[in-house]
Symmetry: C2
Amino acid sequence: MRSIAVLNQKGGVGKTTTAVNLAAALALSGKRVCLLDLDPQGHASLHLGLSVKSGHDSIYEVLVGEASIADIRKQVGENLWVVPAHLDLAAAEMELAGEVGRELILKDKLEADDAEFDFLLIDCAPSLGVLTLNALAAVDEVFLPLQPHFLALHGLSKLLRTIDVVAKRINDQLRLTGVILCLYESGTRLASEVDGDVHEFFENGSGSGTSWSDAEVFQTRIRRNIRLAEAPSFGQSIFQYDNNSNGAEDYRNLAEEVLGLQQSA
Amino acid sequence: MRSIAVLNQKGGVGKTTTAVNLAAALALSGKRVCLLDLDPQGHASLHLGLSVKSGHDSIYEVLVGEASIADIRKQVGENLWVVPAHLDLAAAEMELAGEVGRELILKDKLEADDAEFDFLLIDCAPSLGVLTLNALAAVDEVFLPLQPHFLALHGLSKLLRTIDVVAKRINDQLRLTGVILCLYESGTRLASEVDGDVHEFFENGSGSGTSWSDAEVFQTRIRRNIRLAEAPSFGQSIFQYDNNSNGAEDYRNLAEEVLGLQQSA
Ligand SMILES: Nc1ncnc2c1ncn2[C@@H]1O[C@H](COP(=O)(O)OP(=O)(O)OP(=O)(O)O)[C@@H](O)[C@H]1O
Ligand SMILES: Nc1ncnc2c1ncn2[C@@H]1O[C@H](COP(=O)(O)OP(=O)(O)OP(=O)(O)O)[C@@H](O)[C@H]1O
Ligand SMILES: [Mg+2]
Ligand SMILES: [Mg+2]
């Protein structure tokens, strides 16, 4: 099973849109996919039409309580399951603060889960707090969505250092394997300049033996497309909402690249 | 002096772009404006071409150390001053955690500052932590930038409750006075639908006697315009970068509305 955390501590760069639609695209191509919502805002869950009540059936009950992942996982489409989040999760940051091995709880719960998937995708909150650390401790790969704007690479060093620390201390399998340019305004000079900067940055890191030295910038760029912003208000993936849109085309292409890209590290 | 915190805990909705360009527009109209960067990411400072070294001259030194605001404030244009931030500020969240009256430090430092301004605008981080609480304790008004997408109003109740708690316990002058629709994709059904939802939400709150019952949704919508995303990479406001752009026109119009809107509460 390929396990991938979709992460960028910067807000509003396309993490959820990517986690949801990449998961949906992989499911449509016949892979069994589990999408785990690890954001207290619960946007990935809402995006696929799930609404979770407080005190029931969210990943919060799994992390701080007795629930198992299997108890709360919901099937939302052929080959596609969602482990939903709820705002209760905001309390987990505080509640887990003092706990020994607090970054390893999700990993344990996932290992206790005997369901078989081809892909686990985790949608992370825009933060490097304890929930996101749980994701990093539990997966092998990180995908990094970036908006090609001026400050795209600003703050990246902090994220890369966090991945490095987790890789050294807790999870030596962890690698940043993919970078996805999202919210891409084609034809603008800004997008193409930052695109160039991003490629240069990751080429310079290549071979450095760090947890991000094998990171590949996907050739597929996810273009700005209003359909991608509309789909969540119908509780649908882009493929259900508008299968002929640019948004659907881009996420289908991204999925093909992800499938072609064997985890080489 | 009108003191305004530009706040939304959601990331990437246009807070910094608004704080910077509204400040610049007000300065161009002859008002003396102080823009205070309260985000450890320091985007507002970078946006106007300031780069601050660690250990020197940022609002961090003011909050945890002996520096005064006057020591670190820089003039960046006629009528426009910036109090810059630096990533050191990320430590303040932790360092101030145990301190008595930790939300009132900025207020004290501002009161000790005898410089005269017509406007103080504070650019907040996408968070409701201790730095943002310092902003809320220190100002009379909150402006809320919203991106007219599906989840614009989701999570708003938490923000409004935070403003209410600060207003009750710490700062009875505090009101949410303005809502600004940003990143507006004109001509899309999504924008006009969420626009309608936002108006309805704030009309329903009107007269409720809460800290947001007088909130006005500005008539000016800030349209999506690539020039607004390009300007920061030159360290310029939109007026310096492209005075004829839609972005410049929209922020000029917003400033006129802000000036026409007397603080009525
Ligand atoms: N390619 C795109 N074209 C148009 N709109 C998009 C695109 N990608 C994302 N959006 C919209 O932009 C907004 C932010 O995207 P999204 O929620 O995926 O970002 P995020 O990184 O998960 O944000 P957060 O940090 O809050 O979790 C959403 O309203 C989403 O629908
Ligand atoms: N109206 C607009 N048109 C085009 N691009 C915009 C517009 N407003 C903001 N942007 C761009 O969108 C990105 C996010 O905007 P901005 O940084 O102002 O949001 P923010 O709410 O301050 O984000 P954060 O939560 O990270 O502080 C930036 O790259 C900015 O240049
Ligand atoms: Mg998200
Ligand atoms: Mg900002």
